[in-house]
Subunit: 223 residues, 4 copies
DNA sequence: GATGAATGAGAGTTCATTCAT
DNA sequence: CATGAATGAACTCTCATTCAT
């Protein structure tokens, strides 16, 4: 019974959060009306304030949840056994698609960083999300697939920056997901590879191709 | 006398635009109050409406002016006789600095694209600005400093995307202009240079195969 | 408890309507300020908008209510058993008195007919009110008190037109109700009577006078 | 030259008055914008204030001019040598047509009577207009075409009231001029003609008794 | 006299937040 | 816990009127 009670509460909180995400996404922060959020969550207006002190805290919760879910999704999207390049590819695809789906929430994120016009804080949930990329890159460096000289935060800016900008362009033109964006981005990463050239290239070819093919075979036999 | 009159009008319009730019930048679109803009422009509230039909048109004018000034500044920042690489470096520096100075206006730009919640139009002023980059790149390709295969819009996304993302990071951390961001970005462009090496060509084949395989995997994991 | 709640709501709506009627009547449509209406209804400004979407809908409600109440009052003012002439007399008196009391609301009625400058609709509540007159006249025709040739809408225009014009004159001169206006109007209706003259006149005299006297006696004994 | 000057001024004043009449008629008093009136009169906004102190005085001038023109038109519409009945018919037709054409100005007239919400004055121009009817009626009485007992202001209320009400109905239904309205009205006037019949006189006595009784009843039912 | 840019008080309306039930 | 009616501060925009040119 206590469990049922708690579950009911959590379901309500989740409903509010989902409704708020939708409305914030559609109308922006200032365009979103608390009444509309309550309506979509199927609760009374006052009820929202039982869970969140005010509109801004609701926004924070929405943004927080969004990035947490994004992190969860990113981790799920990455094949654990895959090569670093493959994982980057997967992450890039996942990120681009997510941005296209929820561009507005990303834009809105900056609003959640502010407390009454104060400067702006780092959001821990975004840190967490960024760490997914950093971990892959670090592994790449550790495995010597990427040069030791690679400055992660720099290449991270290229990675996320390019995807975000491309996503905006795609959304604006009402095009959908475009794989060439990913391909183009991934090519850039080649240059970060250590320059022991031909051997490495040959070795990389053989092993990676074989690994990829075996993964495909596995998946195909599963489905 | 007629000139004095016209000059006074233009000065007033400019004052309103400047005030609006500042206030929109500080408070965002919805946070900006018309009364505050009027106060800063040292005119009565009603006067603003003599020049701009409503808040949204004022926003459009602000955004429009911003990008036009940005284009003007970019052209001025580029050394005419310089190499393509040098010009890209100059443009990148100028762009990064501008974004750091006026990040909010860039964020706000998306709002100006909408007419009462309708989809969103391409802003001609942004097109003009982007053309500055395109022209340099095209010259690079023509001069064979860059490969003929270079797809300009893709590399453009990398260029602007990276700078914008970096600027946001820098602004958020309250750091200022960081030249290493530029250096890092410029290094990426090296790879677009034409290479006469067959090894590289062979290696590239391998990587293309990898990319193709990756795409297959991605699709399989999505289905 | 649910009843108390509903009653309280209805009381509030009624208070707003009454306040609005007064303010519209005193200041006209454009002169009326929503703040004043709210103040008189003893509610906050925003509360008015919970009941009526905007000023125009409030106006419509006021006008609607006015004519409905007028209809109710007219029906109440007419003695059921009385002769047609007597009923017309009662209706005319009631109408003249009402116009004197609420002339402004009648004038304002035309404004409620418009939806944002569009042509103008027939107000159903006015139709209903007019039907009171029509019913009496029809009965008069059926009872052969009035000629079969009587065109109701024409005589109706005379009836209401004369009373309205007289009311305006009386209000303007700050005179009150003037019974001679009614007498004069009623005399006009004599001519619509079928022309079988003297007999009819005599027969009418005897019975009507007796009826009227007995009604008076009844009422006097009741009060 | 002085004449030309004066003529130019008068032409400008006339242009303003004509423009104001049109705009007041289309948009009502509060809906009319001084800027629009100036635009239509082809003068600057400030110029209007050289001729009329404020909007209200302009309104007064418009209403004043309207009734003066109406009087002029009425006099012109009446055939000098015609019978009283014929003249009444002509006046009624002219009045109905004028009301249909300029109903809004008539409605607006009441607004011009007020000085800052104060009671309301008799407009001398309306008095003048009404005198046209009165003169015809007086002549009718003098010529014994109408009974000596005729109370002019009473019959005047019937005349103008009926026409005004009919005009409103016709305008509302977007019908045009309807001659049957005039015919119906004129028929009413037959009864004011002197009758030599004693029977009628006796019958009238009876009806007067009835009316007196009715008044008593009305008062009793109101108290 | 004529202009029209400038004014600024004031209006209608919205909506985040509260609190009695 | 939940409700939703009520609040009222705050905002955008209008427009009659003024006055420097």
């Amino acid at each position: 019974m206590a469990d049922t009670q708690r579950q009911r509460l959590e379901a309500k909180e989740e409903a509010i959060l989902a409704a708020a995400t939708a409305v914030f996404g559609e109308s922006g922060v200032d365009g979103a009306r608390m009444a509309e959020i309550a309506r979509r969550a199927d609760v009374a207006e006052g009820t929202v304030y039982l869970y969140y002190k005010n509109k801004h805290e609701l926004l924070e919760a929405v943004v927080d949840r969004f990035w947490r879910e994004l992190t969860k999704g990113a981790i799920a999207a990455i094949s654990e056994g895959a090569t670093v390049s493959q994982q980057l590819h997967e992450l890039a695809s996942y990120h681009l698609q997510s941005l296209i789906d929820d561009f507005k929430i990303v834009e809105i994120t900056s609003r959640a960083r502010m407390r009454h016009g104060e400067p702006g804080r780092q959001l821990p949930q975004i840190r967490e999300y960024v760490r997914v990329f950093d971990a892959i890159m670090q592994r790449g460096i550790d495995l010597r697939e990427f040069s030791e000289d690679t400055v992660i935060w720099q290449i991270r800016d290229v990675f996320y920056g390019t995807l975000e900008f491309s996503a905006r362009t795609l959304v604006l033109r009402e095009q959908g997901f475009d794989p060439t964006v990913i391909d183009n981005l991934m090519q850039l990463f080649v240059q970060y590879r250590p320059s022991s050239q031909t051997d490495n290239a040959r070795g990389l070819d053989a092993s990676e191709i074989m690994q990829a093919l075996s993964r495909i075979e596995t998946k195909l036999s599963q489905s």
